[in-house]
């Protein structure tokens, strides 16, 4: 008998069909990854397995059997006995998924006592036991701490410990590592791997990240618009995708590997695939010139004589330092950082959360004053903002004023410059909208009428309206789905080529940074630990931290994933 058996599942919220005719099976001890972009219905499926849609007004059809319980027909009591005891769930955001007011150990004990008739003491002991099991050091003491006293990775471990407490047959993990840094993600995925090997429980992993799926599951099921696109063993589906959508999805995934798999994108043939391929080609061309390979003529950097380099520097930061807070709480976000950005090149700045990369980006554009050090634009020291240095922001929702039409937002730099001729403004905005792949007719629409990717394009158009020399992109694609991400990255590359812009690309995603950057700076705790041409940094990292970061990136190839896992163990030991 299978552990999970879903037949013809349909979930509808009002008129929206989130899941439509989905069937899946999972054998005891097996693992399956549900992969899809936002809105594909993958999380809805996970929630349906535990009957979490009851009472929400969602219409659920079809049959769901989990560990011998018919979820659709089960009584309240039967459902409660299933939840946690036979099938446990791990959620995305570990901070908000735990009660902030109670000690972590007490919360685990509470859940344990729901399912096991044991004393308070015994439950507490069990909590300490599972916390220890998931690798929380000094579990007895830490079990008395509240969630906010834990780091992100520790919280996720604690949630996994809660899931383990009742010894479930099935673990449902809904985007378990999405909120985590890449090195922590690797640790959590390794932990899940180990636990599965030890306990023999089945795993249903929901993720948007094909790499995470490849790392942790045997089988994969690709979803789109609530339906199954393709399913099969990981190596088969990711190695030789049959469906066009799977190919498109894989083509859009940026690779961190040295060998640039440009072919994967080119073979896809679909629109986005072509775009991704173009992006890859563009990125490669730029990188090629930078690393000394000839033949990519026409790019400004290619014709630089070494002596002209100094004149070519558009933006330069010298000894930047920024502190926040005062007294005992003082904390240095950026510590003595110097970078230079030349005309037409892309400088990638990569780092995990808290590394100071966003603070650095904001100082470069002048939104934040450095505590010490200076930013020089075209050779002159500069205070505050300058229209020629623009920024593209991370969050496509908050970066546009919801109350103003996108045309108005884009026209802002024009009006600020003193342009008063409405016809000329309108014409220029139309030009810019078309330049970033939107329609001139979008002028009078409001931000909420656009998708995330389109809003990001509007943000780029607004930056372009100022006729900038440099654009600092702060995590410009991290809020977007992977296919959209590829399109926006391609657009940035294209604009850079056509306009000779200098780009500073700040991101946490190592693969995306490699895809776009000529030079890369790796940041950690406010300092740059390594800087150099992209290929050098990625292929022959000198700094141990860079090596650690690269080893943590999930691979699409299960074999490579196993190798990396071994490499991570070695690094951890070393």
């Amino acid at each position: 008998m299978s552990l999970v058996e879903v037949t013809d599942l349909g979930v509808a919220f009002g008129a929206v069909r989130a899941v439509d005719g989905l069937s899946l099976r999972l054998d005891p001890g097996a693992s399956l990854a549900l992969v899809g972009e936002s809105g594909s219905g993958k999380s809805t499926v996970a929630a349906a397995l535990l009957g979490l849609h009851r009472g929400t007004g969602a219409r659920v059809t079809g049959s769901v059997r989990v560990a011998g319980t018919d979820v659709q027909r089960a009584s309240e009591e039967e459902l409660r006995r299933l939840r946690g005891a036979k099938a446990a769930m791990v959620f995305q955001d570990p901070l908000s998924s735990l009660d902030p007011y109670y000690a972590v150990g007490d919360q685990i004990a509470e859940v344990y006592r729901v399912h096991a008739r044991v004393s308070r003491r015994a439950a507490r002991a069990r909590a300490v036991e599972v916390l220890d099991r998931v690798g929380i050091p000094d579990a007895v003491r830490r079990s008395r701490a509240r969630p906010h006293e834990f780091s992100g990775g520790m919280r996720q471990r604690a949630l996994i410990a809660m899931a383990l407490a009742c010894g479930p047959e099935l673990l449902i993990a809904d985007e378990p590592t999405t909120a985590l840094d890449v090195t922590v993600q690797a640790q959590i995925l390794d932990l899940l791997h180990t636990l599965r090997a030890e306990t023999g429980m089945g795993l249903l992993l929901v993720t948007h990240d094909v790499g995470v799926a490849a790392e942790s599951a045997d089988d994969v099921l690709v979803m789109r618009h609530g339906r199954v696109v393709e399913r099969g063993p990981v190596a088969e589906v990711l190695g030789a995708p049959r469906e066009p959508y799977t190919r498109e999805l894989l083509g859009a995934v940026p690779r961190v590997d040295a060998v640039r798999e440009a072919g994967a994108g080119a073979g896809a043939g679909a629109g986005a695939g072509a775009a991704a391929a173009a992006a890859a080609a563009a990125a490669e061309a730029v990188t090629g010139t930078e690393s000394g390979a000839s033949g990519a003529g026409g790019l400004p950097t290619a014709v630089q004589a070494p002596g002209a380099e100094a004149r070519d520097v558009v933006l330069e930061a010298r000894g930047l330092r920024r502190e926040f807070g005062r007294g005992k709480r003082a904390f240095t976000a950026v510590d003595d950082v110097s970078v230079t950005v030349r005309r037409g090149e892309t400088l990638g700045i990569v780092g995990e959360s808290g590394s100071g990369k966003t603070t650095l980006g904001r100082m470069l554009v002048g939104l934040l004053e450095p505590t010490s050090g200076e930013v020089r634009f075209e050779g002159r020291a500069r205070d505050g903002v300058h229209p020629a240095v623009q920024m593209v922001f991370q969050d496509p929702v908050s970066s546009l004023n919801p109350r103003r039409s996108v045309g108005e937002s884009i026209a802002d730099p024009l009006r600020a410059r003193g342009e008063r001729d409405e016809a000329r403004i309108r014409e220029r905005v139309r030009e810019l909208l078309e330049r970033v792949g939107l329609e001139g007719a979008h002028h009078d629409r409001y931000p909420h009428e656009f998708s995330g990717g389109q809003r990001q394009r509007v943000g780029i158009a607004r930056a372009l309206a100022a006729d900038p020399r440099v654009i600092v992109c702060d995590e410009p694609v991290s809020a977007l789905d992977v296919t959209t991400q590829a399109q926006v990255v391609a657009l940035l590359g294209e604009l850079q080529r056509d306009l000779g812009l200098a780009l500073v690309f700040v991101a946490h995603d190592l693969a995306v940074v490699r895809q776009v950057s000529d030079r890369v700076a790796v940041m950690r705790r406010g300092r740059i630990v390594e800087e150099g041409p992209a290929d050098e940094v990625y292929d022959a990292p000198r700094d141990p931290y860079t090596r650690q970061l690269l080893a943590a990136v999930p691979s699409l190839d299960p074999r490579t994933a196993a190798e990396r896992r071994a490499a991570r163990r070695d690094l951890a030991v070393a």
Partner: protein
């Protein structure tokens, strides 16, 4: 190139999320609440009554200040002559005991005082709150420190006590309703200033504000264009809740005899006198009490409705299954 990009964007999963800011959904969401709608109608009627007080009393043929000693029974201590406290074609709601002033006229003129003082005080409170709160959020550290401390102190002062005391020392030559307005207005802005400061700080951190700065606009322009519209919702919400509070405050002060003073009629003032007369002339008590109750209730419900309409999140709560049916919350 761009066309193919757009095509693939449309084909992909990257679809716009329907969210709806702006004015039209606000009215739609407000109209969708039956209670708020009823309250709005009641408030509109009250405002009409207040505005049309001279007209209404002219229709009745009375005014709020004329004594009718002939219509009260001085032998029984001044109880109005006639049924139901002197209700008649001439005096629609009867007469005030002892003085024989027309109750209907006093009630509708009382609405004028009540609503007028409350609204004007709300305007004062809102202006001060927005000004101080925004200045604290946008000003230097030093300005913020001073203004925040000041706000703390203002919040700590009990409104009733301060108004009570202040009203005592101002010479009686000063127009009383104006004075009550100013006193309530100048003491009651603290919480709004706190809200505005917090909201401004939040807005200031939003990327579109940074983007506007990068465009090259000056601070003042950015504040006016990007920040102020974002403040409208929370300020409106809180102001809507201030109005009924101010109505109660004015009534309370007049009840204690330090608010609006005779001969200007006020509901609170009528209640003070009615205390003694509830057995002989119950409507003298019930009319102002009922008027106060209905007014404050209608304004509170309307304020709640405004808040729900401005904060759609309030409606979409409880999405996670509880295993049982739930109302629309």
């Amino acid at each position: 190139m761009s066309e193919s990009l757009l095509a693939s964007a449309a084909a992909g999963t990257d679809t716009p999320v329907p969210a709806a800011p702006g004015a039209r959904p606000f009215w739609r969401r407000l109209r969708a609440q039956r209670a708020a709608l009823v309250a709005a109608v009641v408030v509109a009627l009250l405002v009409l009554v207040a505005l049309g007080a001279p007209l209404l009393t002219a229709l009745e043929g009375q005014d709020p200040t004329t004594y009718h000693p002939s219509l009260v029974d001085s032998a029984r201590g001044g109880v109005p002559v006639g049924p139901l406290g002197g209700v008649s074609g001439d005096h629609w709601l009867g007469l005030e005991p002892q003085t024989g002033r027309d109750l209907f006229a006093r009630l509708v003129y009382g609405a004028r005082v009540s609503l007028g003082v409350a609204l004007a005080a709300t305007v004062v409170q809102t202006s001060l709150g927005v000004l101080v709160g925004a200045a604290a959020a946008l000003g230097s550290r030093w300005v913020d420190q001073v203004l925040s401390r000041l706000t703390d102190i203002i919040v700590a002062l009990p409104l009733m006590i301060m108004s009570l005391a202040l009203l005592a020392i101002v010479p009686s030559s000063f127009p009383r309703p104006l004075l009550v307005t100013l006193v309530i207005g100048f003491i009651g802005w603290g919480n709004l200033a706190k809200i505005v400061r917090a909201q401004t700080l939040t807005l200031k951190g939003l990327d579109h504000v940074s983007a506007a700065r990068l465009s090259g606009w000056g601070t003042w322009h950015v504040a006016r264009r990007e920040l102020l519209p974002g403040l409208a919702a929370p300020v409106l919400t809180y102001a809507a809740l201030l109005v009924p509070m101010n109505i109660s405050a004015e009534a309370a002060l007049s009840f204690l005899g330090v608010g609006v003073k005779p001969p200007i009629p006020s509901w609170g003032q009528m209640l003070t006198a009615a205390n003694v007369w509830y057995q002989a002339a119950p409507q003298y008590l019930l009319l102002p009490a009922g008027a106060l109750f209905v007014t404050v209730l209608a304004l509170t419900v309307l304020g709640d409705g405004v808040r729900t309409a401005l904060d759609p999140r309030a409606g979409s709560r409880l999405r996670v299954g509880t295993g049982r049916k739930e109302g629309s919350a």
